[in-house]
Symmetry: C2
């Protein structure tokens, strides 16, 4: 951030009075520009024993497989956002969504909310951001070609829960360090 989005003057990075963290503050109108984490909302679309994945047609991770997910919009609930992303990325209607996982990705300032739901009629087709979409049985999941650690973690939890016959709501940190090592911390 270089300029105040309110008045157009320059901004300085400094700790406002009564605050404890540096913020961009306008040199003229004194507006404080807070920058906060973003929410990504997505889902695990299930049809019979299979999971719908999308192969990414966009960066980052072009060509790799992912669950339908994207940034939550203003005015939207996280569940509505998850359904919208499935429709946009996979022309998929997901029903009976339930909260499934909440993941902290503090290294990239994101919170992931993952739902699970039923893929209506088992039908899907690639949207603008997908090269292709495909239903995968557990044994066919392309684990080595998944786009993001949080997608792999969501799928691991899902298949473990399915085997146990009991679906929980999961909370975990999924952190990738500067050396690209991924650490997952699951909480009870």
């Amino acid at each position: 951030m270089n300029f105040c989005s309110h008045c157009g003057a320059g901004v300085s990075l400094r700790i406002p009075e009564g605050d404890s963290l540096p913020r961009f503050v306008c040199d003229r109108c004194q507006t404080i520009h807070y920058v906060n984490p973003k929410v990504v909302t997505g889902c695990i679309p299930v049809w019979q024993e299979k999971i719908l994945l999308c192969r990414r047609a966009i960066e980052p991770r072009y060509g790799l497989w992912t669950l339908p997910a994207g940034f939550l919009e203003n005015g939207e609930t996280s569940m509505a956002g998850a359904a919208r992303e499935a429709l946009e990325e996979a022309n998929a209607v997901v029903e009976d969504l339930r909260l499934y996982g909440l993941f902290n990705l503090p290294h990239i300032d994101q919170i992931y909310m993952m739902f699970r739901g039923n893929l209506r009629h088992g039908q899907a087709a690639a949207g603008a951001e997908s090269l292709e979409v495909q239903l995968f049985a557990e044994n066919d999941i392309p684990w080595q070609e998944l786009a993001f650690p949080v997608v792999a973690e969501s799928l691991r939890l899902f298949f473990a829960d399915r085997r146990s016959g009991r679906y929980g709501i999961h909370y975990a940190d999924v952190v990738r360090d500067a050396q690209q090592r991924v650490t997952i911390t699951r909480y009870p």
Copy 2:
């Protein structure tokens, strides 16, 4: 938003190519300025049979009671943010935090994450944003003087769960309409 925070030129509200919603786009450098919901993270601090509440020393809802909560910061997990807010607002150390509720507030573009945890030694004292802090038994909760519907909903769920002996993880929409009517939709 009136000016591009990157280059300082004016911005226009328009739908970028390939998008479906209007965004602020820079007239000069074409940077798209997305605005997304913010995450509020907080907790229900429990000591013996009592809950810690804080009386707000800031607007909005000055003078009303609330659970310690505030905006999640970049680089922070939601659980760490909840603990930080309890420390800042109530000088309270909360331990063994567990995810308890996830609430959509789409009318104000917020997602609330509420945790429950133990208040160490039952000790707390007003922080800069609190007029006072106090431990309340269920029968003494000032229901008519709570700051926000999401706080009331969190407490209702908590006491119901405590009576049942089984704590869940709750997901709900808490919406206040233009007539100030609050509608709560709980999902399974």
